[in-house]
C-alpha cells in the first residue's frame, strides 16, 4: 500500500528532446493517494500508457522522480517496486494451469505453499475462477484469461498499487460491465491504490473516484467525474467528456459587451471583466449542451438561434443550433417542447466557463 507521487516527471522516447512535442510526458507533478481508485483518461497516444509504465518501472523517466510513500524509486526495477500491472491483452503463462498462474507471483518470492494456497483460493473466489483452477490456462476464453491476469496482481497482498492498462479492450461488452463491477468490489475489499488507464469516459467514471484527464503528455485536469463535467479545467476536457462535448466559441469585448461573431452574448459583469482582462487572442466561452436553456418563445436576455436539426435520443433530444457562424448543441428533456424553427437560448452565468489559451479561468461571480 502506498501513496504514489510524481515529481517534475517528464519523459521522451528521443535521445535529445528539444521542443515540447518531443515529450511523451511533459513535466508534471502529481499525487495518487493510498487506497484511491483512479482513472487515467485520454485519447490514444496522449501518454497514458507511458505514464503507467513509468510508475511500474518498466520505463525509466527522462527526468523527474517517482516516489512511493516518499521514497524515490526511480532506480528500482519493476520486480522490486511491489506493483502489479494488468495489460491491454491478457498475458498468461500458457503451459501452466490457472492455479499455477495465480500462484506464480507468490512462488517467485518463495512464499510458503499453504499461504500460496490460501491466497490463490481467495482470489479465485473473488474472480469466479474457482471452477477453472485445474484447467490449462491456454484453453481459457479471452475474458477468463484477462481475469487470470488480474488475479496475478490481486494475489499479492503486499502490492503498493495495481495498474490497469486498458484491461477490458478484448472483452465482450456485456462482460465488460461485470468485470468493472468486480474491480470496484475488489477495490473496496482490499483497499489497494488502483490506477486504471482507459480512453472510455464511461469506464473511467464508473470505476474511479477521481479521474486524471491526459492530453498531449500532460494531466490537464484531476478531479471527480462531477468536477470534470461541471467545471472542465481545459477545453480538451470539455470536449472529451460528455456527449456531445462542450460548446465552445470565440468571444471578445466590444463597446462594453461580450460579442461572439457579431452576436451579443448577455453575460454577467464578472465574465465581461474577465474577458476584457484576458491578454490573448484565444479567448473562448464554454457551456455544456445540458446547461443551455432553450425556450420556444422570446424570453428576457434570450438570444435567437436557428434550429438546424433535432436528434431524438429517447429520453432526451439534442438540438443543433446556429448563432451566426457559431454552431451550438443543446440538450432538452423529452417532456419539454421542441422548438421547430428558431429557439431562444440563455447561458446561465454559473455554467459558463471562460477559457484563455485553452485553460479555464475562474471567475468571481460576486
Amino acid at each position: 500500500m502506498a501513496e504514489i507521487a510524481l515529481k517534475s516527471l517528464a519523459h521522451s522516447y528521443l535521445a535529445n528532446p528539444g521542443s515540447p512535442e518531443d515529450y511523451a510526458i511533459r513535466e508534471m507533478t502529481h499525487v495518487w493517494q493510498q487506497g484511491g481508485a483512479y482513472a487515467l483518461l485520454g485519447p490514444s497516444g496522449c501518454g497514458k500508457s507511458t505514464l503507467l509504465n513509468i510508475i511500474s518501472g518498466l520505463l525509466e523517466p527522462s527526468s523527474g522522480e517517482v516516489l512511493f510513500d516518499g521514497q524515490v524509486v526511480n532506480a528500482l526495477p519493476p520486480e522490486e517496486r511491489n506493483i502489479a500491472q494488468v495489460f491491454q491483452f491478457p498475458v498468461i503463462y500458457d503451459t501452466m494451469t490457472v492455479y499455477d498462474n495465480l500462484a506464480f507471483p507468490l512462488r517467485n518470492v518463495g512464499t510458503p505453499a499453504d499461504k500460496v494456497h490460501e491466497r490463490v483460493l481467495e482470489v479465485a473466489d473473488v474472480l469466479d475462477l474457482t471452477p477453472q483452477l485445474k484447467r490449462k490456462a491456454k484453453n481459457l476464453s479471452a475474458d477468463e484469461k484477462q481475469k487470470v491476469s488480474m488475479g496475478r496482481g490481486l494475489v499479492r497482498d503486499d502490492v503498493s498499487a495495481i495498474l490497469f492498462d486498458e484491461p477490458l479492450t478484448v472483452i465482450d461488452p456485456q462482460l465488460k460491465w461485470k468485470l468493472r463491477r468486480k474491480l470496484k468490489e475488489i477495490h473496496q475489499r482490499f483497499n489497494i491504490t488502483m490506477v486504471y488507464v482507459t480512453h472510455d469516459q464511461l469506464e473511467a467514471s464508473t470505476f474511479a473516484d477521481k479521474i486524471a484527464v491526459m492530453y498531449e503528455g500532460q494531466v490537464v485536469q484531476f478531479g471527480t467525474p462531477r468536477e470534470l463535467f461541471e467545471r472542465p479545467a481545459h477545453t480538451f476536457v470539455g470536449y472529451f467528456i460528455g456527449s456531445p462535448g462542450m460548446n465552445l466559441f470565440d468571444v471578445r469585448v466590444r463597446d462594453g459587451e461580450v460579442i461572439a461573431d457579431d452576436t451579443v452574448i448577455p453575460v454577467g459583469r464578472g465574465i465581461h471583466d474577465a474577458v476584457a482582462r484576458a491578454r490573448s487572442n484565444n479567448v473562448r466561452l464554454g457551456i455544456r449542451p445540458e446547461f443551455v436553456e432553450v425556450h420556444g418563445t422570446p424570453v428576457e436576455a434570450g438570444i435567437e438561434a436557428v434550429v438546424e436539426d433535432v436528434q431524438d435520443l429517447g429520453t432526451y433530444s439534442i438540438l443543433s443550433l446556429r448563432l451566426g457562424d457559431i454552431a451550438l448543441k443543446a440538450r432538452i428533456d423529452e417532456d419539454s417542447p421542441v422548438p421547430s424553427k428558431s429557439a431562444y437560448i440563455r447561458f446561465p452565468d454559473e455554467w459558463v466557463g471562460l477559457y484563455v489559451d485553452e485553460f479555464r479561468v475562474e471567475i468571481d461571480h460576486e
Binding site: Q88, V91, V109, K138, A142, R152
Partner: protein, 294 residues
C-alpha cells in the same frame, strides 16, 4: 485444419511439383529397390535374390558398427547443439547494427559448402599448419586426428557444432522474436526470475521451432558425408566412418550393387522411421495448438 475447402482440383496446383519430385525421387528409388532384390552379373544375367541381401546387410558387422557410430554421433551433436543454440539465441542482441552484424556472422557457417567446411577444419586442426592443432601441441597435448580415434571423434563433433549450431540458434532467435514484449513486462511485474522467464515464457514458445530444428538436425547429421570425408577420411581405422560413407565405400569398392542397394533401403527406412515419429509429434502439436488457441 478443418476450415480448408475440399477441392480435388487442387491437384492441378500440385502437379508440376509432383512430376519434378517424382522424376528425382521415384525413378531412382525404384532402381534401388530393383537392385536390392537381384544379383546382377552383367546387363543380361541377373537372378532374383529376394531378401537375401537385406539379411546379409543386417548381419554385416561393418554396417552394424557404422550404424551404432551414427546414432552415437547424432545424439551427441543434438545434445550439444540444441542447448547451445538456445543459449546463443538468448544472447543475441535484438536491435541495432550489432544485431544485424551478429546475425550475419552467426549464419556464415551454414552457407559454406560442406566439403569446404571439411577443408577449413582440416587446415585448422593440422598439427603443423593449423591454429588449433598447433596450439594444442604447444600446450603439450599430443593432438593427432590421424592417430587418435578420440581426437578425431571430438574434432568431428566440434566441427559439426561449429557448422550447425547456427541453424538451431537462428530458429530459436526467430521464435524468441515472436514473443510480445508484454510477456516480459508481465513477468518482471510478477517478479519472475531469469530462469522462470525462460522456463515459462521463452521455452514454451520455442517448442515448435525446436522440433523443426531437431528434425532437420537429426536428418542432416544422419546423412553427414562430406565433412568427415575431407577431415578424417573416416579414420583412423573406421572410427569416424558414418553410414553415408560406409555406403559409399561399399558401393565403389564392391562389384555388386545388390548389397549396397539393400543397405541404402535399410538406411532410408531408419531415417523415415525416426522422422515419422517427429512428423506425428509436430502434427499433434499443431492440432493441440489449434484446439487450444482462441
Amino acid at each position: 485444419m478443418n476450415n480448408k475447402v475440399r477441392n480435388n482440383k487442387a491437384w492441378w496446383l500440385i502437379l508440376p511439383m509432383l512430376l519434378l519430385v517424382a522424376f528425382s525421387a521415384i525413378i531412382p528409388l525404384m532402381t534401388v529397390v530393383n537392385y536390392s532384390v537381384q544379383d546382377v552379373f552383367d546387363a543380361q544375367t541377373r537372378y532374383f535374390t529376394g531378401t537375401e541381401w537385406f539379411v546379409q546387410m543386417l548381419n554385416d558387422p561393418t554396417l552394424q558398427s557404422a550404424l551404432g557410430r551414427q546414432f552415437a554421433f547424432s545424439l551427441t551433436i543434438l545434445a550439444i547443439e540444441v542447448p547451445l543454440g538456445i543459449g546463443i539465441a538468448l544472447l543475441m542482441p535484438k536491435k541495432g547494427w550489432q544485431a544485424s552484424a551478429i546475425l550475419i556472422l552467426v549464419t556464415l557457417p551454414l552457407l559454406i559448402p560442406w566439403n569446404v567446411v571439411g577443408s577449413i577444419w582440416q587446415i585448422f586442426t593440422r598439427g603443423d599448419i593449423g591454429l588449433m592443432g598447433w596450439s594444442l601441441r604447444e600446450l603439450g597435448y599430443s593432438y593427432n586426428i590421424t592417430r587418435s580415434p578420440l581426437d578425431a571423434w571430438i574434432t568431428i563433433v566440434i566441427m559439426d557444432v561449429w557448422h550447425w549450431t547456427p541453424l538451431i540458434a537462428l530458429l530459436c532467435y526467430s521464435g524468441l522474436r515472436a514473443i510480445p514484449e508484454a510477456y516480459y513486462q508481465a513477468a518482471r511485474i510478477d517478479r519472475a526470475s531469469r530462469w522462470a522467464i525462460f522456463r515459462y515464457i521463452q521455452l514454451p514458445k520455442l517448442t515448435n521451432v525446436l522440433v523443426i530444428g531437431i528434425l532437420l538436425r537429426f536428418m542432416h547429421s544422419f546423412m553427414i558425408y562430406a565433412e568427415p570425408f575431407v577431415l578424417t577420411g573416416g579414420g583412423p581405422g573406421s572410427s569416424t566412418t558414418f553410414l553415408s560413407q560406409a555406403l559409399a565405400i561399399m558401393a565403389t569398392a564392391q562389384f555388386d550393387v545388390g548389397p549396397s542397394a539393400a543397405f541404402s533401403l535399410i538406411y532410408f527406412l531408419i531415417i523415415l522411421l525416426v522422422s515419422w515419429v517427429f512428423y506425428t509429434a509436430i502434427m499433434n502439436m499443431q492440432k493441440d495448438k489449434k484446439d487450444g488457441g482462441a
